[in-house]
Symmetry: C2
Subunit: 231 residues, 2 copies
């Protein structure tokens, strides 16, 4: 407990003035006015990151897809629905940002056609034609300046670390927070997470099971360490 | 206010001992361990119906798809995810039930294949093959006994009343609660609703904009009226 108090005091302003953009939640890709494709993201990890970054003094912009959570105080909230919405919001904010943490679960595909009226069920079979959404992390990586730190997440169901390392390099990111969502106590909806921190030319740091709040602080610590090494 | 108190007192036990099954929420149809198809149902209408029925003395079983709501006290809660889960749960309960209110938004289709591992994005295009889910309301209508009252919902974006009347007859239901979800103050997520009550051989009763709690009580009143007419 004393350790926590000292830590809280010491940390209080260690991100003071750093402009951080956090994305959170699962995007919704509309099929028609009442139906959509989505994923299991609860937004908890992203919201914890935003809340802890604010507590540590950062200026936080939270680009959030629909979640059942109350936004943390003092964040600038931008609500979006689809991957396209999120892509546009993130790229518009990017020039003024020093750290991007992409905690949202963005749909890889969206329906080609979005019907204006509810589709009536008539056929026994149906199929939905999907096209790739723009890759937000890759586009941020392409536009990245020397001052910027880019953090991605990789929610995997197998080959977690190998997939994360590939993502790190392909997307020109600085840190990938990887988790195997099939592990108990990890991933979506639950309040804990089990993650590995994957960086360039560093051994993978496998963290034990932690609250999402503690994972958020571990990720923010790692970001500060990356920034210090660049000085 | 006095009217409300008198109403609350008078109504207190007017559904005493009636066994009601309410379905609520939007089903989730899995594509893989992290992705699914769903719809905009918040579950609010179904949860209000369950809560008001309990308050009026009914014995309520609530078959609920995933929602961000706290279940009302005293209901027997059965949680389900997909349309198939809901179909099985409802039919298992049906023989002991006197009133079924199908407020859930059940997906009409589900993916043919549900992948065991997260599907990796590799192609520019993708398509999802879907098959029809079993029609829960139609199956309840087929099995309906003389004692049972069956209530369905019709969330439409056009031709609301015509579609509701067709649904009433095709599904062998006793009452359809119809709403045009494109109207402001109606439909998903909001706390109000604008509905029409559609019965056999009766003029349609178009209700004004009301809280979902008041709509719930109007629907329960209509159910009691149908039961009285059968005596």
């Amino acid at each position: 407990e004393l350790v926590e108090i000292i830590r809280a005091f010491w940390q209080q302003q260690d991100m003071k003035g750093i402009r951080i953009l956090v994305t959170a939640g699962g995007t919704r890709e509309r099929i028609d006015p009442v139906r959509y494709l989505t994923n299991d993201s609860s937004g908890k990890m992203g919201y914890q990151l935003a809340a802890e970054a604010v507590r540590r003094g950062a200026e936080v912009t939270l680009v959030s897809a629909a979640v059942g959570l109350t936004p943390p105080p003092k964040v600038r909230l931008i609500r979006v629905e689809s991957a396209i919405d999120m892509y546009e919001a993130v790229l518009a904010e990017l020039p003024g940002i020093e750290v991007v943490i992409k905690a949202a679960a963005v749909a890889d595909y969206r329906p080609v056609v979005q019907a204006d009226e509810k589709i009536k069920k008539t056929e026994d079979k149906m199929h939905i034609e999907l096209v790739r959404n723009p890759d937000i992390l890759a586009e941020i990586g392409r536009r990245k300046t020397e001052r910027q730190v880019i953090v991605g997440f990789a929610a995997e169901t197998n080959h977690t670390e190998a997939n994360a390392l590939e993502k790190l390099h392909k997307k020109n990111a600085d840190l990938i927070v990887a988790n195997d969502v099939t592990q108990e106590g990890a991933g979506f909806s639950v309040d804990t997470n089990i993650v590995s921190l994957v960086r360039r030319d560093r051994p993978v740091r496998q963290l034990p099971i932690m609250s999402k709040q503690s994972v958020a602080n571990a990720v923010l610590d790692e970001i500060l360490s990356i920034r210090r090494e660049r000085l």
